[in-house]
Symmetry: C2
Subunit: 446 residues, 2 copies
C-alpha cells in the first residue's frame, strides 16, 4: 500500500511539451514513479492505493534549483549590504573555514528544510572544502534529489588558510564521488571547483577528466559573476572567463555555470556550441550588486537556463518563488513587459532545471513513467487570482505565490512535506541546534 | 480592560531617531495609544491590562503603503505580461468600469485582508470612478488607517466611456470628502486625480483648491511612470510631467506622486523645493516594464520616499515584504551593494510612509504618545537568521521575511490579525463571494 499512492488534484500543470493543464484527474504513483493519470471518477477502481485528496490544490512537478550552497545557510543575515570581496573575505570564507562536521550538518538541515517546504525537490549544491560527507548524509536522510559535491579550492588570495593542495582536493573529491555517486538512485556527484580564481589550471582540467569515471555527474562552477572577477581573469589569462574555461576544455553539456552575467556575444556562442548551461541566480546577483544576466538572449540563442537561490547570506531566502518572480520582473524594464512571461519562467524552475542536470527524462514534468517529484499548491488563498484558470495559473505561481501556498511535497513518491510542515525535520529543533552551533562557530572564526 | 493592553515582545524595533532596539520590554497601550514602555519584570504591576505575550517575537511599527488600488484586487492574474497601454485599455479600464457596489466591496475586502495579514496598517488608496463610498465603508469596518478617495477622470482616450464630466467628478469628490474625511480618527480624504492624461487642467487645479477645506487631506496622483506617458505630456503641454504639475500649482508638501521614474534633475529640484513626495512601487514598475526610479538620488536630495504595492494586477501581490526586498535589491546593480541597506528600506516602509501622509507624529515608530499601530513578527523560523541580533534584525525583516512571519497586527490598539489570521474577515468567505462577483463583472465587462 505504501508504495501505491493516488493523488487527487483540482488541476495538474503537466509541464509537458504541449503544456496541457488537466482538470478532474488523479495521479497514480507506484514505487516512486508516475504510473498512470486517471479521471477522478475512476478513483473507486483503485481501492488499494493510499489516497491523498487535494481536491482544491494545483499539482505541479517539483522545483529544481541548480545553484545552492547548503553550507552557507547558517550564515544568513551575517553578511548583508557588503561588497562582494568584503562579503567573501570578511564573512563567507572565514565562516565556511570554521565549519566542523556538526555545524555543517545543521547548516544543511536548515537549508534542506527551507528548500523542501518551499517546493524544491532537486538541487545542485556547491559544498564547502571540508566535511562534505555530512552534506551527503543529510541529503540522503532528507530523501532529497541532489547533485552535490565538495567545493574545491587550491588557491585563495582572499583568505589563504581556506584551501587545500591540488592533490588533496582531487583525492578527497574522488573518494567522495566513489562513495556517494548514484548511492540511492537520487544522488549524483557534482564536481565543484569554486571558480577560476580559486583553482589551479591543473585542478580545473583534472577534475573534468575524473568526471568520465562517474557518468551523469556534473561540473559545477561559478563564472562571470562580478566585474572585478572577470577583470582579474583577463589579467591572469588574457581571456574572458568563459573563453578561458573553453580553452582548457572544461566546457561541455555536463557543465553548469552559475551567474554568467558579464559574458560577451562570442562567449555566448561558445556556450551554445559546447551546450553548457547557465544557472541564473537573480536575488544573489542583485543583492551583491553583480548585475543582471541577459537571460532573454541566452534563451533566444537556445542556451539552457535554470534558476538557483545561491546561498542564504546573499539572498536571504532559498525559496524558488523569490527567484521565479525576480527572474521575470528584472528583465521587463530592459526587454519589455511581455518578455520573460510567467510560463517561460515556470519552465526554467522545473523542466529546464531538470535538463541542466540531464534529468529531463526522469523529472520536471508530470508524465507517466517519470519519477514522482510532485508539489501541491494551495492557490485558494486571498493572495491569488480569484478565478484561477488555465491562462493565469502560471502567473499565479510565478507572480503571486510563495512558500505559504506550498501544501504537500513528494520526492520519488515519498511525502516529505504535509500542510507546509516538514515530515523530515522538526523546525524548532533545527533552529535551536543551529543557534548553539553557530555561536561556537563564530568563536572559532574570530 | 479592553482599552488597556500589555504587549510583551522579545525585541522592539522602535524606529525612532536613535534607532534603538529594546530587549526585555513590554508596550502598554491605552485607548489606542502607546502609553508606556516598561521592563518585563514590571509586568506584574499592571494586572488590569489585557496581556499579549509575544515573548519570542519582534515588535515593529505597522507598515505604511502610500500607493494602493483596492478596487483592482479582484483583477489579479487577469492582466499579466502586457504592455502598459494594453494593460489599461484591454483590461484595467473595462474591468474598473464594470464594477458595481458589490464587486467593488469584495475587491476592497480582498485587498484589505491581504494588506493587514501582511502587516500593513496604513494605506493611501486610489479608488475608482464610481461607488467610492463602498471602499470607505470597508476601510472603516476593517479598522484600517487610510487616506483614500475616488479616482477622478474627466478625460479618457483609451476607454472613453470610463470617465465623468469635470463637474460631476468635483461634486462627487466634495460630497465624499464631506462625508468621510476625519470620520473616525483613522480615515482622511485623499484627492485622487488619476494622472495628467486623464484629467483636465481645470480638474487638476480645482481639486487642489478644494483640499484647503479638508486639512490633512492628500493630493494623490500618478506621475512619470512610463516613457510614452511623459512623451504625451510633453506633446500636449510642452513640459515634463512634474514641471507641468508645478506650473499649475498642484505640487506642495501634501502631494504624493506615485512612481516618478522618468524625472530629470531639474524636476527633482522642483520636487525638493515644493516638498512633494514620491511613492515608489518597485514590483509594479518592473512588471509593467516602466523602469527603475532613482531612489538613492531622491534620498540624497532629501526628498521623501515611501513604498506602495500599487494594484494587484501589476504586482501581483500586496505584501509590503515584496516591495521592501525589491526596493533594496534593484538599486544595488546600479548603485552598488551597500546602497539601499536594509535599515534605510525599513524606514521607507514605516516612518517615511507616515511622513508622506503627515502622520509622522502619530504613527511610524514605537514611542510613548503615538497611536498603537503595531505588528508582531515571528522571526524564529528556519527562513530567518539563526542568531537574530540588533545588527541583522533589519535585514531579517527586509531580505528574509514574508507574510508568513506576520503573527499579530494591531491598529490603534485594536487587534485585527492573530496568528496570521484576520479577525475582521473570513478568508474563505471573501474568496467565494469574490468568485461569484468577478464572474458577473466579467460578463458586464465584455
Amino acid at each position: 500500500m505504501k508504495n501505491k499512492k493516488l493523488i487527487i488534484a483540482q488541476a495538474i500543470v503537466t509541464n509537458n511539451q504541449n503544456d496541457e493543464i488537466l482538470r478532474d484527474k488523479a495521479v497514480l504513483v507506484e514505487n516512486g514513479f508516475i504510473s498512470k493519470i486517471i479521471d477522478q471518477k475512476e478513483i473507486t477502481s483503485y481501492p488499494d492505493y493510499e489516497k491523498h485528496d487535494f481536491g482544491n490544490h494545483v499539482l505541479i512537478p517539483g522545483f529544481v534549483q541548480t545553484h545552492i550552497h547548503l553550507c552557507q545557510t547558517l550564515f544568513r543575515g551575517l553578511a548583508d549590504d557588503l561588497e562582494l570581496l568584503d562579503w567573501l573575505q570578511l564573512r563567507i570564507f572565514p565562516f565556511e573555514n570554521a565549519h566542523n562536521a556538526k555545524s555543517l550538518r545543521f547548516s544543511a538541515q536548515l537549508g534542506i528544510h527551507e528548500l523542501q517546504t518551499s517546493g524544491t525537490t532537486t538541487l545542485l549544491d556547491m559544498g564547502t572544502v571540508n566535511h562534505q560527507e555530512v552534506i551527503f548524509d543529510e541529503l540522503i536522510r532528507s530523501k532529497m534529489r541532489a547533485i552535490a559535491g565538495k567545493c574545491m579550492m587550491d588557491y585563495n588570495d582572499l583568505y589563504p588558510s581556506f584551501k587545500k593542495s591540488t592533490r588533496e582536493e582531487l583525492d578527497y573529491t574522488v573518494s567522495l564521488a566513489e562513495e556517494f555517486h548514484d548511492i540511492n538512485g537520487k544522488i549524483r556527484y557534482g564536481f565543484a571547483p569554486r571558480f577560476v580564481l580559486s583553482c589551479s589550471e591543473e585542478l580545473l582540467i583534472e577534475t573534468k577528466q575524473i568526471m568520465k569515471d562517474f557518468p551523469g555527474s556534473i561540473y559545477h562552477t561559478h563564472s562571470s559573476e562580478n566585474k572585478s572577477e572577470v577583470e582579474e581573469v583577463r589579467k591572469r589569462f588574457g581571456k574572458e572567463n568563459i573563453e578561458y574555461f573553453n580553452s582548457i576544455g572544461v566546457l561541455d553539456d555536463h557543465t553548469v555555470l552559475a551567474h554568467c552575467i558579464h559574458v560577451n556575444d562570442s562567449e555566448m556562442k561558445t556556450m551554445k556550441k559546447q551546450n553548457s548551461r547557465v544557472s541564473h541566480c537573480p536575488s544573489s546577483n542583485l543583492k551583491l550588486g553583480s548585475g543582471i544576466a541577459n537571460i532573454p538572449k541566452y534563451l533566444s540563442e537556445g542556451i539552457n537556463v535554470s534558476l538557483g537561490a545561491d546561498g542564504a547570506p546573499c539572498n536571504n531566502n532559498l525559496s524558488v518563488f523569490n527567484e521565479m518572480r525576480l527572474a521575470a520582473l528584472i528583465q521587463k524594464p530592459i526587454h519589455g513587459p511581455t518578455s520573460m512571461d510567467a510560463k517561460t519562467v515556470f519552465k526554467l524552475a522545473t523542466i529546464e532545471g531538470a535538463r541542466a542536470l540531464h534529468l529531463e527524462n526522469e523529472i520536471g514534468s508530470i508524465k507517466v513513467g517519470k519519477k514522482a517529484d510532485i508539489v501541491l499548491l494551495n492557490l485558494e488563498k486571498a493572495n491569488q487570482s480569484v478565478l484561477s484558470n488555465d491562462e493565469n495559473i502560471y502567473s499565479d505561481i510565478v507572480y503571486s505565490a510563495s512558500k505559504e501556498n506550498v501544501s504537500s511535497v513528494f520526492i520519488q513518491g515519498d511525502q516529505v512535506v504535509v500542510n507546509g510542515k516538514s515530515l523530515i525535520y522538526d523546525e524548532g529543533e533545527i533552529i535551536s541546534n543551529s543557534k548553539a552551533e553557530l555561536k561556537k562557530l563564530m568563536e572559532r572564526a574570530v
